[in-house]
Symmetry: C3
Subunit: 151 residues, 3 copies
């Protein structure tokens, strides 16, 4: 049997600490914004470095999945439950990329696939996947979501 | 005589296929979000590589124009007509850039100019133009829009 | 005594000129979007180049602070006063970064700290800080905000 929202909620990682002077969540009406998160597990990066150089696509995919779990943890805390998410509007996925690496969409699917696993079709985001020079702490992936909440 | 919205609609390219697990369009109330698109024409990149190295500013400008046409095609399909666009709120234009290339605004104007050509003053976006390391498939430009729809 | 909003308004720099074909501000309902701005002071970049190579974190921090001041100047003009800002929803901070530079959050705090200084807790943004290859004109930082306005 597929896990329920409650099953997912019980398995989410702790809400991450902000790395500097910002808040993890803001909302205006039904639109909520999360900060960019990097794949920190118990205070350490799950993977470090750039795709196409230090890490495989599979490792990047897993890092993107972790970013999505952390972001759901933020949303659960601020919305008081994952059932308050009506749909994911947009995911922005930055992928630290060495010259010549073009598989950002395959890496970003680590986030999309998790969101769909948890939220169903409503979790499929409009998405930007972009290869960038460097990310905070040397992270391979940074993810930020815009979501619509239920009233 | 300037082309009408109907003229433009008849000339738009087919809606692109997503490259991975995401949707091209999401909406909440009057705000609509499109996914990042790259300049694919009949399944092939119109231009490939980085600005300041592989491509001229003019080639980048044309690639950005193609991204805008593809995005209008997405909006026409999901909104049932370009006349449902009230204004373009924000354009984010990522430009694959070699070291020392700083003309991202001139490249991004390929998108802005097309949006204004089609939608008039309402097409002028608030905009971010940013030079990044690498884009999906080796594309030179990626464009995403946030638009306001009519009720 | 801490400066009031009126004190800040009297000290803001002039609204910057767009670098190309875009507008500095768009609004839909209570959500307002600003364009990406670079740290231009009297038409010249306050600092130029990449972090981790040409500039110190402190210089990047000051550049981010200038971007925030310019953005508040745009918001003051279009909203007719800083008191019309209800909260900052999201800040996107792109930092031109040399290989191995990972202190984007410390640079981006130049913008966050100023927003909090002026707007209090409501100025703390959800935030993305990202290291990119190159920015327009050779700027070290580009900032764009999404804010909620008062009715």
């Amino acid at each position: 049997m597929a896990p329920t929202l409650e099953d997912w909620e019980s398995q989410l990682p702790p809400v991450p600490a902000p790395l500097a002077n910002y808040t993890l969540f803001r909302r205006s009406g039904r639109i909520a914004f999360t900060s960019g998160v990097v794949p920190l597990v118990e205070g350490r990066l799950q993977a470090e470095g750039r795709l196409g150089e230090d890490l495989t696509v599979e490792e990047g995919y897993e890092a993107a999945r972790t970013c999505a779990l952390l972001t759901l943890s933020i949303l659960r805390e601020h919305l008081k439950g994952l059932d308050r998410i009506r749909q994911v509007l947009r995911a922005v996925v930055f992928v630290a990329s060495a010259p010549g690496f073009h598989e950002q969409p395959q890496v970003a699917d680590g986030a999309s696939d998790l969101l769909v696993e948890v939220l169903g079709e409503a979790g499929t985001p409009a998405r930007m996947a972009v290869g960038v020079a460097e990310l905070p702490l040397g992270a391979p992936v940074e993810l930020a979501l815009t979501v619509e909440t239920r009233r």
